[in-house]
């Protein structure tokens, strides 16, 4: 069955849905306004050229012999459409009333849909280009829409402005990253997850401990960060210790609960087997119960990676040395430097995704045997 997929590239590709063709109506509407007058497509040579390029790629999409070829060709058409508003803005045109241009962009975005669908069917590492293109397109649309409709930068700055702020404040952002992620988050996360794990092992051996701790866990996870953060700052001071303490409070119980569930997930017959070999508690733990618990452990680690980042940033609102991502956000908001705030948010989002992604990758590698990852 799986062999037959090798034949797919030579198979006929599905026909294109007609929706991208809405852009053919674009020449009927204004493409830009300049000094209060509407300009139509033939009056703007650059826009005309880009529009023609997109239409030509659509018309000639059957020429390439493979799905990948068609995807690349159509991608050029999409890129031309996304470039058009940026070119027009550079030429000093206003775009808020430019119905034709927006129709062109809508059609191109629908065309991108087909590009992504084609790429999803391609085998090999090219597949990974799909999600990347999707992300890039979102950022591009964000740029085009915020600038085209002149959204106030206080509300939402375009990504180019965020990137500029990022470059201009790179040194500060790096210091924040080091303080928040490399010091507070890392230490708090390791302490919190480690403590949760160890307490779970203990609670698993001493049942009354588990019965006493679990309700406490529910209580702790219901306490809001903004409640404990100022208390921790009072207890442990301004530096990383108070942030780590907040993270520990947030992460200990998710890890404890997941580890406990994982340790209990070994089947009776598997336990009986160990018993029949005369294996003791520790050996059974190492050779059976912990491997069984691995999927649960990773679940806890993944949940906690996000919680830890949130915890540290929020806790920094309540007092830090003058560095840290939470500190940066709170001070720059007060000064209306929203581009720096967004740059910090971007760093936080990127860090969180990378952390989560790395854990997911490790999980895939370590628990490849688990039903959710099995191949065949």
């Amino acid at each position: 069955m799986s062999r037959s997929t090798m034949a797919r590239p030579t198979m006929a590709r599905p026909i294109m849905a007609p929706w991208p063709l809405v852009m053919l109506a674009a020449p009927l509407l204004p493409f830009a306004t300049s000094g209060g007058t509407d300009l139509y497509l033939p009056q703007i040579p650059a826009a005309l050229a880009l529009f023609a390029l997109t239409v030509v790629t659509i018309l000639s999409r059957r020429l390439p012999g493979s799905a990948l070829g068609e995807a690349l060709l159509l991608l050029a058409g999409v890129a031309a459409a996304y470039a058009a508003p940026l070119v027009l803005l550079r030429q000093g045109h206003a775009l808020a009333q430019a119905g034709g241009l927006w129709l062109y962009l809508a059609g191109a975005t629908l065309l991108l849909w087909r590009v992504l669908a084609l790429l999803a069917g391609v085998s090999g590492p090219v597949r990974l280009a799909g999600p990347a293109l999707f992300g890039l397109a979102l950022v591009m649309l964000w740029e085009i829409l915020t600038r085209g409709f002149q959204v106030p930068t206080i509300l939402l700055p375009p990504p180019s402005l965020v990137l500029t702020a990022f470059a201009a404040n790179a040194a500060d952002l790096w210091d924040d990253f080091r303080q928040t992620v490399l010091i507070s988050v890392l230490r708090g996360y390791l302490i919190g997850c480690g403590a949760g794990f160890l307490v779970a092992i203990l609670a698993d051996r001493v049942p009354f401990l588990a019965r006493g701790l679990l309700p406490l866990g529910n209580l702790a996870s219901a306490v809001p960060v903004v409640g404990i953060a100022p208390i921790m700052v009072m207890w442990f001071g301004f530096d990383w210790q108070s942030k780590a303490a907040v993270i520990v409070v947030m992460t200990v119980f998710p890890m404890l609960i997941n580890t406990l569930a994982g340790l209990q997930s070994a089947e009776r017959i598997q336990l009986d087997l160990m018993r029949s070999y005369g294996a003791g508690y520790w050996r059974t733990l190492a050779m059976l119960r912990l491997p069984c618990a691995l999927p649960f452990l990773f679940n806890g680690l993944k949940i906690n990676s996000t919680l830890a980042l949130i915890g540290a940033i929020v806790a920094e609102f309540f007092g830090t040395p003058v560095v840290g991502m939470g500190f940066r956000i709170s001070t720059q908001v007060a000064r209306m430097n929203l581009d720096v705030v967004w740059a910090t948010i971007a760093v936080a989002a990127l860090t969180g995704s990378l952390l989560y992604g790395a854990l997911a990758l490790a999980e895939r590698h370590v628990t490849a045997w688990h039903p959710s990852f099995r191949k065949r």
């Binding site: 017959i269 009986d272 018993r275 029949s276 070999y277 005369g278 050996r283 491997p291 045997w369 065949r376």
Partner: protein, 280 residues
């Protein structure tokens, strides 16, 4: 009623050391499971004595306590009353000395271990050196016809193959006593015949003591020196049938056509039917 002690088997020459002739001795064993609604009388006053080299089959309808009896012998279940000794020791001492290999009703393989490493598991626990572990695992996998599957993971094998891996695992550390709970229940007829033949050869060659649970009368008669017919509610022994008197020790598959074989099979069937009529 509990069977009388059979004559000791003569094929095994009396050993010079004072090894006990009786490997498993069960006396007046009763086991009641306390469940939430009502007690389950899984075993009631069961007595059975198994000598070295015996091949005992337990046969009977589901729920008559076959698994429970094996689990008591293996120290996986505590009797409510009665005496059990294994190699002259308590079941717990015997378990800690790794006196038996247990083949469970389900394969119970560890999905994170390859087939080979599953077979090596008991050897790892016993602390055998790596090279020997590997060699023994290969031998046992070869014996159950699974050479070439060493590096596969359990879920990549069929149910029957998985069960054969679990048999290889029980054989790997060469225990003198083998407890097998419906090991061939999930296998097709041909594989089953093949493994039956291999099992009787193995048993003849090694003189292991075997306790074997099955639902198949033919399988029980073919393999056993004695067949224990059981009946449920409460779980008890109805009949113990000696096969060794009428059938040769060395058996081939065509022995199943012989009148002696048929006669014993008939008696087993009678016993099973008697157990059923008790219920109604």
């Amino acid at each position: 009623m509990p069977a009388a002690q059979p004559a000791p088997l003569t094929l095994v020459p009396p050993a010079a050391d004072a090894a006990p002739r009786t490997i498993v001795d069960v006396r007046n064993l009763t086991l009641t499971y306390q469940t939430t609604d009502q007690p389950v009388y899984a075993l009631s006053d069961v007595s059975l004595s198994i000598s070295k080299g015996d091949f005992i089959s337990l046969i009977g309808p589901s729920g008559c306590g076959k698994t429970t009896l094996m689990r008591v012998v293996a120290d996986l279940e505590q009797p409510t009353s009665g005496e059990v000794t294994v190699n002259g020791m308590t079941p717990e001492q015997a378990r800690l000395k790794r006196a038996y290999g247990y083949v469970f009703q389900a394969p119970a393989l560890y999905p994170w271990r390859t087939v080979e490493r599953n077979v090596m598991l008991p050897l790892e626990i016993m602390g055998l050196p790596r090279a020997e572990r590997q060699q023994r695992a290969r031998e046992q996998l070869d014996l159950v016809g699974l050479s070439g599957f060493e590096r596969k993971f359990p879920w990549q094998l069929s149910g029957g193959m998985q069960q054969r891996v679990s048999i290889a695992r029980a054989l790997a550390f060469n225990p003198d006593l083998l407890l097998m709970d419906e090991p061939f229940g999930a296998l097709d007829e041909i594989t089953r015949d093949h493994l039956n033949l291999q099992l009787t050869r193995l048993w003849l060659g090694t003189r292991k003591t075997c306790i074997f649970v099955t639902h198949s009368i033919a399988e029980a008669v073919f393999l056993s020196t004695r067949i224990v017919v059981m009946s449920p509610r409460p779980g008890r022994i109805l009949d113990v049938i000696d096969c060794d008197r009428d059938l040769p020790r060395e058996r081939t598959l065509d022995i199943r056509e012989s009148p002696e074989f048929q006669r014993i099979a008939h008696r087993v069937r009678e016993g099973l039917m008697e157990g059923h009529s008790y219920d109604d």
